[in-house]
């Protein structure tokens, strides 16, 4: 196996319990996003666009959807002879097996996988962030700084800093201190959970961490503090741009809303940084004579006869005439019946909203005044659920 300069380890293990029923039978990275994507498309496309051709996907929770989705890796150009995308589940070694007990432990259990590529650098990624990032630039920074580890950080509003892991740095961007959710933050540089390590440096720390029974085997809680204590060269890499952890229903909804508008917060229409995904074989979408679609994303296979305002329709969604959808995301294959009303809601994959049903409140704002606030509650209809005719699902309810 030829040596690799840098390989990526993508932590996709999370059950994503804060996404609730959406992740009942799939790992969080397999959750649909942005009309035709799944969350994992974003870190994978970032890798490919950054010339990283070897990605280990660490997962132990309901990997079927993810496994089937990733397949041979071809949609992301990751069907490589040397390298490619590998799903890495826990396994039995010697006579017994061990489940992944933390982010660092998951990587530790796959030391032989990493060692076979003999990489200089290892990039650690999460499977639940939406962003476009050139990891090659971050690596250049890491090399220039002669760092042992580099952590990507985002500048957050000072009054929100206490919700994040905060890096305090000196004038050369060297990290002097790391505080997890500090009450009195000294800086507003928040860790994005994206790390580049010199593999030579990281490896012994993983081995030692495994022996420490009191450790929670986590990069943020254990490995980074261990390295800091030992006086290692840790640097903070400033990331400018859109980044969102879509770990909650609200943030998932919000990130989808961020795709809309004349100057969207996050732009999918970017020829220079393509997001790859596995495309289903569906025809282009069709809008009927009476369809009224405004400020929305409409994916292939959709057939729309009704009204869609400021919403994201995923592949193969049917919207019957008279239906009214607003400030909502409708996941693949969902069917919205005649005169149904969907307002500020998430409709799961393959859900059926029967005619006349109302999901969320009746919409009151005028056209062009959309609710993108996080104050009101999101209403959720889980995957494959059928909401009966005329049924009213109140604001904030979760139907499963």
């Amino acid at each position: 196996m030829p040596k690799k300069k840098m390989i990526a380890m993508l932590l996709a293990g999370g059950q994503g319990s804060r996404l609730g029923v959406l992740t009942k039978s799939m790992a969080k990275p397999a959750v649909p996003f942005g009309g035709k994507y799944r969350i994992i498309d974003f870190p994978l496309s970032n890798c490919v666009n950054s010339d990283i051709d070897t990605v280990g996907v660490l997962t132990q929770y309901e990997p079927l959807a993810l496994n089937s989705y990733l397949g041979s890796g071809q949609p992301w150009d990751l069907d490589r002879m040397n390298g490619g995308v590998f799903v890495l589940p826990p396994y039995v070694s010697g006579s017994e097996g061990q489940w992944y007990s933390g982010t660092a432990n998951a990587v530790y259990q796959n030391l032989p996988f990493i060692d076979q590529f003999d990489p200089e650098y290892v990039l650690i990624l999460s499977g639940d962030h939406i962003y476009k990032m050139d990891y090659a630039k971050m690596l250049r920074f890491h090399v220039e700084k002669n760092a042992d580890a580099t952590i990507a950080v985002l500048t957050v509003p000072m009054d929100e800093a206490s919700r994040f892991g905060i890096m305090n740095t000196d004038e050369y961007a060297r990290i002097t201190e790391f505080e997890e959710k500090p009450k009195q933050p000294k800086s507003n540089k928040a860790s994005m959970g994206i790390y580049i390590f010199n593999w030579r440096i990281l490896r012994p720390y993983l081995v030692n961490d495994d022996k420490d029974k009191s450790s929670s085997h986590d990069f943020g809680k254990n490995i980074i503090p261990d390295l800091l204590r030992a006086g290692a060269n840790l640097y903070a890499y400033d990331f400018k741009g859109y980044w969102k952890d879509v770990g909650t229903l609200k943030s998932l909804w919000e990130a989808n809303m961020d795709l809309l508008g004349q100057r969207p917060e996050f732009r999918l229409a970017d020829k220079d940084w393509r997001i790859y995904s596995k495309s289903p074989a569906m025809p282009p979408h069709y809008l009927g004579e009476l369809a009224d679609v405004t400020d929305s994303i409409v994916s292939e296979g959709c057939v729309v006869y009704g009204n869609v305002k400021h919403s994201v329709l995923f592949t193969g969604v049917h919207v019957a005439k008279g239906a009214y959808i607003r400030d909502s995301i409708v996941m693949p294959g969902a069917v919205i019946g005649e005169n149904a009303i969907i307002n500020k809601a998430i409709i799961g994959e393959g859900a059926v909203i029967s005619p006349g049903a109302v999901i969320g409140s009746d919409p009151t704002p005028e056209d062009g005044v959309y609710d993108t606030s996080l104050s009101g509650d999101i209403t959720l209809v889980a995957n494959t659920v059928t909401v009966p005719e005329g049924k009213r699902v109140p604001v904030g309810m979760i139907v499963q």
Binding site: G34, L260, I275, G288, E300
Partner: protein, 373 residues
Amino acid sequence: MENAFGLIYTGDASMQLRDLTFSRSVAAVPFGGRYRTIDFMLSDLVNTGIYNVGIIAQRNYHSLMDHLESGKEWDLHRKRDGLFILPPFVTHDNTGVYKGTIDAIRSCMGYIRRSSQKYVVLMGSHTIYNTTYNEMIRSHIESGADITIMYNRVEDYDMSEQFDDLRLKFDANGRVIDLALNPAQPETNLCSCDAFVMEKSTLEYLVEDAFAHARYDFMSDVLVRNVKELNIRGWEYKGYVARLNSLNGYYRHNMALLDKAVSKDLFSSEHPIYTKIKDEFPAVYVGEGKAINSIVADGCIIEGRVENSVLFRGVHVSPGAIVKNSIVMQAADIGEDSYLDYMILDKGVSVGRGRNLSGHGSYPVILRKGTKV
């Protein structure tokens, strides 16, 4: 899996489609918002369970090669069988132009001989439909026919667009007793769909025999001429058939997709039509952007108004622009406040701000690939 292979004749640049086939064969002509005509033939075969497909290419097959690549989008990149592009062998003696279908088929006898399947589905490339051949092959075997022709009932065949129009007449037992090619006064409304099932050995014999007698056209010299000698039978296809035998026909069949019944027939979810993936973002409607009674593909940004039209991938309709009754192919850029009506825009056309371009329902105007207006 069926014990059959597919052989698709892509023909030379056809004059019927005028500027659309200026630099591509009919098989590579864009259709229905994200497809090329060859996608339908390939998907029909793959959905049948036929994974050995030969494509007889002639000159100008580069856009076809680009589109097909290794065949992976149709699951035809295989070690055994798979997709074979059979280009003309250009040598000092051979200019790469075939004398006719017989000559073209004969030039790939090597491929035919190596194919291990017993039956062959021989197809043209200007007739679009969505079916599987399983039933047709079964009926071919059961009837004991030499050749089975797929046909449909045509109601309003426009005689001014007549092209490769093969009419079938049956006797009471279902045997074809007469075939007429491009008849001025058709006796029947049963029209060949340009797909033929026969044993591979039958094809080999018929082609060699015709060639030896300096006969070069499969339809007239093999089928029509031998209708008495051969046991020819038919298999009726009842779905929608789009014959791209004229520019008007091309326009009409694209527009027909706006009819739900037609698009359901051609884009059956049971038999998906596969095509090359372009990794475009989903279409986005921005500001005053609207579309009604239209087909819009991925990668479109709609800021203007679209009516009764088919938009291919990556079209940008600027604010204030109006696109009506038009077919707009990949990556067109429609400038602000421009107006299009009854137009066909080939790939990469750019329409400047405020331009006003109109064709007519019976004569849509076509803008060549890459035109800047």
